[in-house]
């Protein structure tokens, strides 16, 4: 029982980062109908840029963090303008392929600039000291991660609900033509979606980088996001958050209990097994919009 609680808590931590990245992914999909295979590379770039500014350039963490955010936003806008906008109206396969190619380019660039060894934030930003809650031990950095992840989730939830830009983004997601005829610039909304998508992923990268250090496998986050958003329903932002948390906990539990039978590394593929099961049973996820077609 105690072991299970421990697994759930650590799963929740990594799940909160999944939720953050998945929210960026779902946001991009909802407003631009582009499925972004480069989401994990945004995580990677965010982690590396912040680490480089903080550890190698010796900037204070707040400055390093802000500069990384600015870079993430610029990257999002630039990529949308240069690469994704010419793809509007192209078949799905081309759009998928262009984001995959983009992922390859970003990953190669990061490897060329910073090589592939694991790097850690030094001096550490949050302490690794373990805190005891009854029988469950949680490291302090984990708590900070969850806190920051939920802070950003809350900020963006409020942003979509209350601000003018947020409402216009929801309008575009709902119906592009109507939104355009009401005077909303769809192009601007696309750019904002990509920059927010890049920004939240970069935050995710920085948070995870504080726990495990930064290396090239950070980009795997982009792949784990797929089970999360499929579980939540591809076009639901709330669903993505719930899906992210669930997948984080599920992979931790499955990894820990099934490793004995399947010979290690179950954690890496558990989310994908869940994904296949969901696709077979309920392809539109928990909160996705059902597209019903009959012939």
């Amino acid at each position: 029982m105690q072991e299970l609680m421990q697994l759930i808590v650590t799963g929740l931590v990594i799940g909160s980062v999944y939720a953050l990245v998945a929210m960026g992914f779902a946001l991009i999909y909802k407003s631009t109908s582009i499925i972004n295979f480069a989401q994990g590379e945004f995580v990677l770039v965010g982690g590396y840029v912040c680490l480089w500014l903080y550890t190698d350039m010796h900037l204070p963490i707040l400055v390093a963090f802000s500069i990384s955010m600015v870079i993430a936003v610029l990257m999002g806008v630039l990529l949308e303008r240069l690469i994704l906008r010419p793809m509007i109206g192209e078949p799905i396969i081309s759009v998928i392929m262009v984001t995959i190619a983009l992922a390859t380019v970003l990953k190669a660039l990061v490897t060329i600039l910073w090589s592939t060894q694991i790097k850690v934030f030094s001096p550490p930003i949050f302490s690794q000291k373990a805190l005891e809650f009854g029988s469950v031990r949680v490291s302090e950095v984990y708590l900070w991660t969850v806190a920051f992840a939920f802070l950003f989730l809350a900020i963006f939830a409020a942003f979509f609900k209350f601000t003018r830009v947020g409402i216009s983004m929801r309008a575009v997601a709902n119906d592009q033509q109507v939104a355009q005829s009401m005077g909303i610039s769809v192009k601007k909304v696309f750019a904002i979606s990509w920059s927010i998508g890049a920004l939240v992923s970069a935050v995710g990268g920085i948070l995870v980088g504080n726990i495990n250090g930064v290396n090239i496998t950070l980009s795997d986050f982009g792949l784990k996001v797929f089970p999360a958003v499929i579980l939540g329903g591809l076009d639901s932002i709330g669903g993505a958050i719930i899906g992210g948390l669930t997948i984080g906990i599920l992979e931790n539990i499955m990894g820990s209990y099934l490793d004995v039978y399947l010979g290690g590394g179950v954690k890496e593929i558990a989310p994908f097994i869940v994904l296949i099961v969901i696709l077979m049973i309920k392809p539109y996820g928990l909160f996705g919009i059902k597209e019903i077609e009959r012939v």
Binding site: L102, F226, I273
Partner: protein
């Protein structure tokens, strides 16, 4: 002089080689391919790389790329799992060959095994479209690779599996020269098969499913049957390609069949031209030759930047990604479409109408 192709019979319009010239060029190309090993040595020394090896890789990949082109280009189903399906074929061929099964039986078995696995993962394709199918096949990719890596007793795990070279009628395909003709035969066979398949009832049904699946269903094309069939044939071809790979490289490990290979396959058919038989050939040649061509400037630059060889792999991926992005933005129909435009231009030159 005619200003274009005008046929007076339906049979001529349906012909694979529509003009006498096309037949002549084809004969010249085949002659070149069949005699190439005779002067391969000289060419290899002149350009400083093992061209026979490159040709063999091209032949192997052509079989698989034709398979993916059938699925993605002709039936409109996306697969991000073909790398793993190729791996299934390779492992099946390797394990059977090590059990003493002869080459002529092991290779079709590799294809059938890959087809079975591909069809299982293709079942969701009835309910799922585009995006969802891409994600489902991607999950298949990861699960299959996991099985290859962890099923130690069968696949040899991460240390890999050593395969005996293939032999047929007492002839052993153990070196580049011998394998060349085997690979060439399969590449030509696969090309002819795909070209002819697309002219049959089945091939037209595939195209109908791609273009308007609702309309196809209305006029009586069984969507489920043709989608699964397309997955089956496609995975069969990629499985054969995997089997050939196993017999050529003779050591197989899961590292070769990762997501990266699936992406490369997709890049091949997209850059070459989706829905063109010629497209997969162009794409494969381009994708196999590109890294080899990159090697030359990298070596030249290594005197200026001493650590450039360390980042060569990343550099190759960078160029690969950029090439795919540029193709998708500026020539979305691929090299085959561009080839057709160029040919049409010269046919009428210098009068454009």
């Amino acid at each position: 002089m005619p200003c274009g192709l005008f046929f007076s019979k339906y049979e001529k319009d349906d012909a694979i080689f529509k003009t006498v010239w096309l037949k002549c060029w084809m004969v010249i190309l085949l002659l070149f391919l069949f005699t190439y090993p005779l002067y391969a040595q000289t060419v290899s020394e002149a350009v400083g790389m093992n061209t026979l090896n490159i040709f063999n890789l091209i032949f192997i990949y052509i079989v698989g790329a034709h398979g993916l082109n059938l699925l993605t280009g002709y039936t409109g189903q996306i697969s991000l799992g073909h790398g793993a399906f190729m791996g299934v074929g390779a492992y099946t061929a390797g394990i059977l060959a090590n059990m003493g099964v002869p080459f002529w039986a092991a290779l079709p078995a590799a294809g059938l095994m890959a087809a079975a696995v591909g069809m299982i993962f293709g079942i969701p394709s009835l309910r799922l479209k585009g995006l969802y199918l891409a994600i489902a096949t991607m999950a298949a990719q990861f699960i299959l690779i996991y099985a290859m890596r962890n099923w130690d007793s069968l696949t040899g795990g991460s240390s890999g599996l050593i395969v005996e070279p293939a032999s047929l009628f007492g002839l052993e395909f153990s070196n580049d020269f011998n394998f060349y003709y085997l690979g060439l035969a399969f590449a030509i066979g696969a090309t002819m098969y795909l070209k002819n398949l697309t002219r049959t009832r089945t091939g037209r049904a595939f195209v109908a499913v791609r273009d308007r699946y609702l309309a196809a269903e209305v006029i009586g094309v069984n969507l489920f049957k043709y989608r699964i069939l397309s997955f089956g044939i496609s995975s069969f071809m990629v499985g054969i390609s995997g089997g050939l790979w196993a017999f050529y490289i003779t050591i197989i490990s899961d590292e070769h069949f990762t997501m990266w290979l699936s992406v490369q396959y997709l890049a091949m058919v997209i850059v070459g031209g989706l829905g063109y038989v010629l497209g997969s050939i162009f794409g494969v040649v381009f994708m196999v030759v590109l890294p080899e061509l990159l090697r030359l400037p990298t070596e030249a630059l290594s005197s200026v930047f001493p650590n450039i060889s360390g980042i060569f792999a990343s550099l190759r991926e960078l160029v690969f990604g950029l090439v795919v992005i540029l193709f998708l933005i500026f020539e979305p129909d691929g090299m085959a479409a561009r080839w057709h435009t160029i040919r049409a231009y010269w046919k009428l030159w210098p009068f454009s109408y």
